[in-house]
Structures are given as structure tokens and as C-alpha cells.
């Protein structure tokens, strides 16, 4: 993995490496626009972000990024078919109430959808459940069961099956080992479902080749 710039998260670097220069990108839950800004500078993309929080939206627009304030589940409905080359849902899927509907909707407006999420089948989580018999907590999932925004328990295996069930195809897959906000990390090649803290996937249509 070529490290191009040190100030973005490792998982974002992976995502950026999959994006063809000059493409149209929609970043859902774009925060302060770190990825969009990076993609604009390094991949010359035409990017749009969607973000719910006013302060973050304002920070993006002040940087000259195109960002809409709103609920991503609603906002994606307005775009025409294949309005984007890539739609990015980074570390948000585990908080989505209707993942099936959302991913289907994203595949309508984008040619490729890139999704990243924390892997709930990491060995440390399994061990916590096994040994402590309590809902797991760690750096990626620092919440208690009652205040966690992460309402979906996803593993790499589950996600692959989910994509297949929806009739789509995994085009790229990067199980990674990195901490929450970390700029460093590595791709996990051996026993990824057990050893990766995050999964990053790019999905496309079933009848497509890479």
C-alpha cells in the first residue's frame, strides 16, 4: 500500500487508492470533508458530500467542497440513476436502520459502492463475549449496549453474503488492521474475518467485470 499522504485515516487511503482519477464521487457522512478534499487534490475527482451536522457541513463548504446538509437515507433518493462513479459509505453502515434499502439505493445512483465498517468477528470481540459474557467494548466500538449508535452487528463474512443476496458482486476487498482514527495500518491476508478490525469493500453489479 503506497502511502501518499500522512494525514488521512488508513481506511480512507485504501478507499482513495480504488478511485479512478477524474471520477464523480459521492461521500455519505463526509464529516469535515477529509476524504473529499484528499480525493480532489490527489485524484481530481468531482466530489459531493452529504453530512447531517451543520458545523461539519459549514467546515466543508468553507473549504470549497460541495456538501449538502441532510439525512443520507433521504438525500440519496433525489439523484438520477448512475449519477456517480463511486458512492462511499465509510464507517456508517453499522449505524444504518435499513441497510438493504440503502445499499440498493446507492447501487442505483452509483456504478460502484465502497463500504467500510468495523468487523464484529475480530478475535478480541469474540474473546470478550466468550470470557466476560458481556456486550463487547473496544477502541473501534467504544460504546455500551445502551448508548451505542452501532445498531448493526456486521462481520466480513456477513457482508459478503449480504452483497450476494442483494444480487451484487464484491469487486475489491480489503480486510484491514488499524485503530479507530489511525493513519497507519495493514492489510490482513491471513484469517481476515478473525484478525481484521475493519472491512473495506467495493461492490458492483453482478454482470460486470473489474
Amino acid at each position: 500500500m503506497e502511502v501518499e499522504k500522512r494525514d488521512i485515516r488508513f481506511d480512507l487511503k485504501i478507499i482513495a487508492s480504488w478511485i479512478e482519477p477524474g471520477s464523480r464521487v459521492l461521500d455519505l457522512g463526509c464529516g469535515e470533508g477529509t476524504l473529499l478534499h484528499y480525493l480532489r487534490e490527489h485524484r481530481q475527482v468531482v466530489g459531493t458530500g452529504i453530512e447531517q451536522h451543520e458545523a461539519e457541513v459549514a467546515a466543508c463548504i468553507a473549504k470549497g467542497l460541495t456538501v449538502l446538509q441532510g439525512d443520507l437515507n433521504q438525500e440519496v433518493l433525489d439523484y438520477p440513476d448512475r449519477a456517480f462513479d463511486y458512492v462511499i459509505l465509510s464507517q456508517t453502515l453499522q449505524q444504518v436502520y435499513r441497510p438493504r434499502e440503502l445499499i440498493t439505493s446507492l447501487m442505483r445512483i452509483g456504478s460502484r459502492v465502497i463500504v467500510s465498517f468495523p468487523n464484529f468477528s475480530h478475535w478480541s470481540i469474540r474473546l470478550q463475549v466468550l470470557m466476560r459474557g458481556m456486550a463487547p467494548k473496544n477502541q473501534q466500538l467504544p460504546y455500551d449496549w445502551y448508548n451505542s449508535p452501532n445498531i448493526r452487528v456486521i462481520t466480513l463474512k456477513d457482508f459478503r453474503r449480504f452483497v450476494e443476496d442483494l444480487g451484487f458482486k464484491v469487486m475489491e476487498e480489503a480486510p484491514i488492521n488499524t485503530q479507530n482514527q489511525d493513519r497507519y495500518g495493514s492489510i490482513v491476508r491471513f484469517l481476515p474475518n478473525l484478525r481484521a478490525t475493519y472491512g473495506v469493500f467495493m461492490i458492483g453489479r453482478a454482470n460486470e467485470t473489474r
Binding site: 468531482v46 459531493t48 451543520e54 457541513v57 459549514a58 466543508c60 463548504i61 468553507a62 473549504k63 470549497g64 467542497l65 460541495t66 456538501v67 449538502l68 446538509q69 441532510g70 433525489d78 439523484y79 438520477p80 449519477a83
Partner: protein, 373 residues
């Protein structure tokens, strides 16, 4: 920053064709400019004023002038609309009373003020007249058009009427069309003017003016510009210069005193007939109808500008859902649009008040538009 009000008169031999079918000529436009037009003519920003505004957007007319222009917090050297970088233009709308041709101007056919002989003008007509000014200034393409409320309507009109002349657009606290609620407030305000015996079917020039009616109209306006929250904070039920209720029909509450003051202040600077004509133009505005045969999405298929749409949480005159309708139509057309709903307690008027967030949004957006990005 000293500014000078200038005038452009056109449509002298051939009247300006208005949407109502009538012609208007000659037409005078009062305007002010700040900053310098660069050599390529690429740094021009047109600022569009709201109902009671004028061409005096920023700066002062003289060193002794006590009050700066209406958007002095936003426009000036180093400010969000930076006059060191941009050539900024603002003109008074036609139908107005601050130097541009309106019902109080002299009708060349009679030698007396137009009064109700002035044709009903639309937002489209106002923009058409502004286009003549921009042509006169030798500007082929505006870097940005910016405005709030009725000014925002003109921004939208510019983008659909002259799409090739607008690179970017900032419609603030505005709408694609007036709701029944907005029309209702305007109608009550107009009725207040027309019920004033001094109004005389609009023929009051040279005599007593319908000041009471106009003041009441302005009071109604000020209610719509604030919000429940803003009024609660600003006035609550506090009494004005007294400790107990008067048990008379005088002013008891601060909010009454405030509205009366705003009404009184307004009649000194505004013409009642202009108020009637401008509110009518706002009510008639329906950009989906006028440019898309009833479809807002179709209307925006004409647009080419990059947009920044901003609404305010407590604006109940043009609530956020109306800005979202605009954004949706823009998105469906694949336009480059940013949208932010700013948390503000001050209601519709929030866009005119100091707001760091709004300033930083406008500054960042303009810088990016200026780079052609």
C-alpha cells in the same frame, strides 16, 4: 469606504417590455459599486436586495454618514464578499423608491408621478432591468449573484433567465414560490395601506401620505421576519416604560413599542405604492411555473451555475423545506449544489445579522468559484 450612488437610464426610445404586456420607458436604475473590475472582467459579483433594501449595500456616502449600507457586515475589504478581490454591484429594483424607476417616479406621459399607472412588475422584469445594467458595465459573465429573501428570488431568476451569465449563485433564506401563508401576510399588509384614507387610490404624491397604513404594513412584515423564539428572547411579556398594565389602549408591552417604532421609522424612507408593487411581485413569483411549466425540476434544467443554498432554522416565512425543494430540483438536474441550514434564533432576518458561519460559508464558496473549481 465611501460610495456614490450612480444612475443608468435606458429604454429611452424603445420601452422595456414587461411580463404583464406593458412597456416601461425610460427606465432609470440606481446602483452602487465597490472594488475594481479586473482586466478579464471575471471578478464581478451582483448583490440583490430584499423588499425594503436599496443599492446601498455597504460603505457610507460621506465621512459624516452615521449609518453604513444594509449588508456592511458582509461586504467590504477583507470581509466575506471582499472588495479587495471582487467588483461588487448592487442596484435598486425597478418598482422601488430608492432611485430606480417606480410608482413615485414621474410618468413621462403626464409629467406627474405614476401612482397606480405604474405597470405591475415581476421579479423577472427586475432582473431584466439589472441585465441592462450589467451589459452597460461591460460584464459578460458574473462570478456570482448573491441575495436573501426577495433578493434570493432574483438570484434564482438570474440563473434561469441568463444561465450563461452566472458562474455561481447564493440564494439565501428564499423560496421557489410564496406559500399561502406568505401571500396572506402580504395581502394584510397591502390592505392596511389601501385602507388608509390618505392613500387616495395611490394619488397621494404632493399631499398627505398613507403613513399609518404603511406603518401597519411594516409592523406585519416585522412579525414575519422574527420568530417565536426571537420575540420571546427580545421582548417576552416585558412592559415598556411602566411597571403595571395601563388599562388603557396605549402601548403596554415592549413588543408593541418595537413594532410601532419600526413602522414609524419605515414611513420616512419608503413609498407606500412601492410596497404594494414589490409585495405583489413577490407573490407572483413562481419559478417552477414561469420557467418549467409547473415543474421546478424542469425549470432548473436551464441552470448552469454552481449553487450554495442556505436556510435558517427559525425562518417561518421561507422555512427550510422550501430551500430543500430548490436543492432537490438542482440535484435532479445534476447541478453542483451545496446546502446548509444554519441554526439561528432570529427568524427570517438572520441573513442580515452578523453570523460568522454564514460569512465563512460565503467566503469559502466564492473563493472556490473564483478558482473556477
Amino acid at each position: 469606504m465611501i460610495v456614490e450612488k450612480r444612475f443608468l437610464t435606458f429604454a429611452i426610445h424603445r420601452p422595456l417590455a414587461l411580463e404583464c404586456g406593458a412597456g416601461l420607458g425610460p427606465v432609470t436604475i440606481a446602483y452602487e459599486t465597490l472594488g475594481r473590475l479586473d482586466e478579464g472582467g471575471k471578478n464581478a459579483i451582483l448583490v440583490l436586495h430584499a423588499l425594503s433594501g436599496d443599492s446601498h449595500m455597504a460603505g457610507r456616502y460621506s465621512e459624516e454618514d452615521p449609518k453604513p449600507g444594509w449588508w456592511d457586515i458582509m461586504i467590504g475589504p477583507g470581509k466575506a464578499i471582499d472588495t479587495n478581490r471582487y467588483f461588487v454591484i448592487c442596484s435598486n429594483i425597478i418598482g422601488g423608491c430608492m432611485g430606480s424607476t417606480g410608482p413615485s417616479s414621474t410618468n413621462p406621459a403626464t409629467g406627474r408621478p405614476y401612482g397606480l399607472d405604474f405597470p405591475v412588475v415581476t421579479i423577472g422584469d427586475m432582473v431584466k432591468a439589472q441585465k441592462a445594467l450589467i451589459d452597460h458595465l461591460g460584464i459578460k459573465r458574473l462570478l456570482a449573484v448573491v441575495g436573501g429573501s426577495l433578493g434570493g428570488m432574483q438570484v434564482l431568476e438570474w440563473c434561469l433567465r441568463y444561465p450563461d451569465m452566472v458562474r455561481s449563485a447564493i440564494p439565501l433564506a428564499t423560496t421557489a414560490k410564496h406559500s399561502a401563508l406568505a401571500i396572506a401576510f402580504n395581502e394584510v399588509a397591502r390592505q392596511a395601506i389601501m385602507a388608509d384614507p390618505n392613500w387616495q387610490e395611490g394619488n397621494y404624491y404632493g399631499g398627505a401620505r398613507p403613513n399609518l397604513g404603511l406603518a401597519v404594513a411594516r409592523m406585519i412584515g416585522h412579525i414575519t421576519y422574527l420568530s417565536d423564539e426571537a420575540m420571546r428572547r427580545k421582548f417576552g411579556r416585558r412592559l415598556q416604560d411602566r411597571t403595571d398594565l395601563s388599562f388603557k389602549l396605549d402601548v403596554d408591552f415592549q413588543v408593541e413599542s418595537y413594532l410601532r417604532y419600526q413602522g414609524k421609522k419605515f414611513v420616512d424612507r419608503f413609498d407606500a405604492n412601492s410596497f404594494l408593487y414589490i409585495t405583489k411581485a413577490a407573490d407572483y413569483f413562481d419559478i417552477g411555473e414561469q420557467h418549467g411549466g409547473g415543474s421546478l425540476v424542469k425549470a432548473f434544467s436551464k441552470a448552469k451555475a454552481k449553487f450554495l443554498v442556505v436556510s435558517f432554522t427559525s425562518d417561518w416565512l421561507y422555512p427550510t423545506y422550501q430551500s430543500r425543494e430548490l436543492v432537490q430540483a438542482m440535484k435532479k438536474n445534476g447541478l453542483d449544489v451545496s446546502f446548509c441550514e444554519i441554526e439561528a434564533d432570529w427568524g427570517h432576518d438572520a441573513f442580515l445579522l452578523p453570523n460568522e458561519r454564514l460569512s465563512s460559508l460565503i467566503k469559502g464558496f466564492l473563493e472556490c468559484a473564483g478558482r473556477g473549481g
